[in-house]
């Protein structure tokens, strides 16, 4: 049992190392990706700076709170929204899945490990970029005063990345039945951009709209984690948020697993 666990860890450690190196295989693409991350933050901060030049408050936010929100949500999005699972649909569509099925690897763990490598890469490079943007824009960053807030926030971030992983797998597994799963994934990205709260907090919208968003899984990718870190949730909101996050993780994991079982059962490995 000990040896089995040790060799398993070694296998996935190797996958992690290879995925990390793969990230640098195309250096220009890699740096352009980093540049894109910075541009999205610059746009969001510039927009809010311009808006607050003519008003004191937007909904319950003043300028410092809003810039703080944008910064923290950017950090969370670097961790949660980076993923390699987009490649799964190509693996299935091209017939390469049969190669994965023959390997002594758990398909879900394999891709989760690759995701983790991607997230590490994002975190390492984002530190420098965010430090640069912090010096330029000098937002008033809110640091939690209590270690429990940090712990809960990190737990919620981990939950968010699990949720994003399973949602991405669900979209990839559609390829078992439809030839092109890119179109529904495109719609998913658009919806996530608007309802996850990456460039603006969701509670600036009218309450019925915010309540509607909160019934979907998307605010539990970024918005919930950011509000938790900023200490803007009371105990009831925090626990109900954790309940919803757990519910959506279980739900998406269950759907992903069911689709995988059904999809692999009828998989013909066409294309190879």
């Amino acid at each position: 049992m000990y040896f089995s666990m040790g060799s398993n860890l070694k296998k996935y450690w190797t996958v992690l190392r290879i995925s990390w190196m793969n990230g640098f295989a195309y250096p220009i693409s890699f740096w352009m990706w980093r540049l894109r991350q910075m541009i999205s933050i610059v746009i969001a901060i510039s927009m809010w700076e311009a808006i607050f030049s003519s008003t004191e408050r937007i909904a319950s936010y003043d300028k410092a709170q809003m810039l703080s929100y944008i910064f923290v949500s950017s950090i969370v999005s670097f961790i949660v929204l980076s993923s390699r699972t987009i490649e799964v649909q190509n693996v299935i569509h091209s017939g390469d899945l049969s190669l994965y099925l023959m390997k002594p690897l758990n398909f879900f763990f394999y891709w989760f490990t690759r995701d983790i490598a991607d997230k590490f890469q994002n975190i390492v490079f984002a530190i420098g970029e965010l430090a640069f943007l912090f010096v330029v824009f000098q937002p008033n960053l809110i640091i939690p005063q209590h270690w429990m807030t940090v712990l809960f926030s990190l737990t919620a971030v981990f939950g968010g990345l699990l949720l994003y992983f399973f949602i991405n797998l669900i979209f990839s597994f559609f390829v078992f039945w439809i030839p092109d799963a890119w179109a529904p994934r495109f719609l998913f990205f658009i919806i996530v951009f608007f309802t996850a709260g990456s460039s603006f907090p969701l509670d600036i919208f009218p309450k019925p709209l915010t309540d509607f968003f909160m019934q979907t899984p998307f605010p539990f990718l970024l918005y919930f984690q950011t509000k938790l870190w900023l200490g803007q949730l009371n105990l009831v909101e925090m626990w109900s948020g954790f309940f919803m996050l757990s519910f959506w993780i279980c739900m998406t994991a269950g759907i992903a697993y069911a689709l995988w079982k059904k999809g692999v059962y009828g998989y013909g490995s066409e294309g190879r």
């Binding site: 890699f30 030049s53 937007i58 909904a59 179109a183 719609l187 658009i190």
Partner: protein
């Protein structure tokens, strides 16, 4: 797929002048792409829905902001929406006509690009215009109708002259967008890496959804003189609202043509660096 006699390349080439010939080429590409893209109505519906959601969600954000504040960097939010429409015009038209750029890296890596070199057609045209995207056309038509209604309803200062100026500078904005795409193609030919580069252009152009004035210096200067996305979107919008000085218009004409000239020179140089390594 059956190609009729009239649609063969030979018929396209015979007796046509250069412009007519290339228009016919484009329609030929367009026909194949329409057949390909609309063969999966499932994808068409999702793309159309996704693009509509993207457009209306941003519009909703601006409308919500309007309830909290009346201005952004000295512009009313009605005026900011004009910038957003102009951004969408340039973005969608570029997507419709220049989609081939997105597929270039695969063609360079697989060696298919060599095949283009042997064809009796302008290589830049073949590379960029070879895969028009008609998913964007579905959104473009309602956008034109909606934006015309909105503009003439909420911006009452528009005159015939300012509208003509808008069209002239919108075309110049498209010329800047074309130049950006040429630069991306050049980079793709030299490095075989294009995917994130073209997305960087998309992200930078998104900065033009807002008036240039919201950005701090030196970023604003960078977006005017180095990567003229500010000129691409801000100048037509300001011309429409009567906010552009003659000096700004002349300056933007100069920058646009200079940028375009520089893009073409870069294209010629990068083509000489193509090594056909994949073939």
């Amino acid at each position: 797929m059956r190609y009729g006699k009239r649609e063969s390349m030979g018929m396209v080439l015979r007796g046509d002048n250069l412009i007519t010939r290339y228009i016919k080429f484009w329609f030929l590409f367009a026909k194949y792409e329409v057949l390909k893209q609309f063969s999966s109505m499932f994808s068409v519906v999702f793309f159309f829905f996704g693009k509509s959601v993207r457009f209306f969600s941003f519009l909703l954000l601006l409308i919500v902001l309007q309830q909290h504040t009346k201005a952004m960097a000295g512009f009313t939010l009605e005026q900011v929406i004009i910038f957003f429409f102009t951004f969408n015009y340039i973005d969608l038209i570029s997507q419709i006509f220049l989609r081939g750029v997105y597929m270039l890296s695969g063609k360079v890596r697989s060696g298919e690009f060599d095949f283009y070199l042997t064809q009796p057609m302008n290589l830049l045209f073949r590379t960029m215009a070879g895969n028009p995207d008609f998913n964007d056309l579905l959104l473009f038509i309602p956008l034109v109708l909606f934006s015309l209604w909105y503009t003439f309803t909420f911006i009452p200062t528009i005159t015939l002259w300012s509208f003509i100026l808008y069209l002239i500078f919108l075309i110049h904005g498209l010329l800047i967008s074309l130049s950006f795409h040429i630069f991306v193609v050049c980079l793709g030919i030299v490095t075989t890496e294009i995917d994130n580069t073209i997305m960087v252009y998309r992200d930078i152009s998104q900065m033009g959804r807002f008036p240039l004035e919201i950005y701090r210096e030196p970023l604003r200067g960078f977006m005017t003189f180095v990567l003229p996305v500010g000129i691409m979107i801000s100048v037509p919008s300001k011309a429409l609202m009567g906010l552009a000085s003659p000096m700004l218009l002349l300056f933007s004409l100069f920058i646009t043509w200079l940028f375009f000239f520089f893009a073409l020179r870069t294209w010629n140089s990068s083509l000489k660096m193509y090594t056909s390594a994949s073939s």
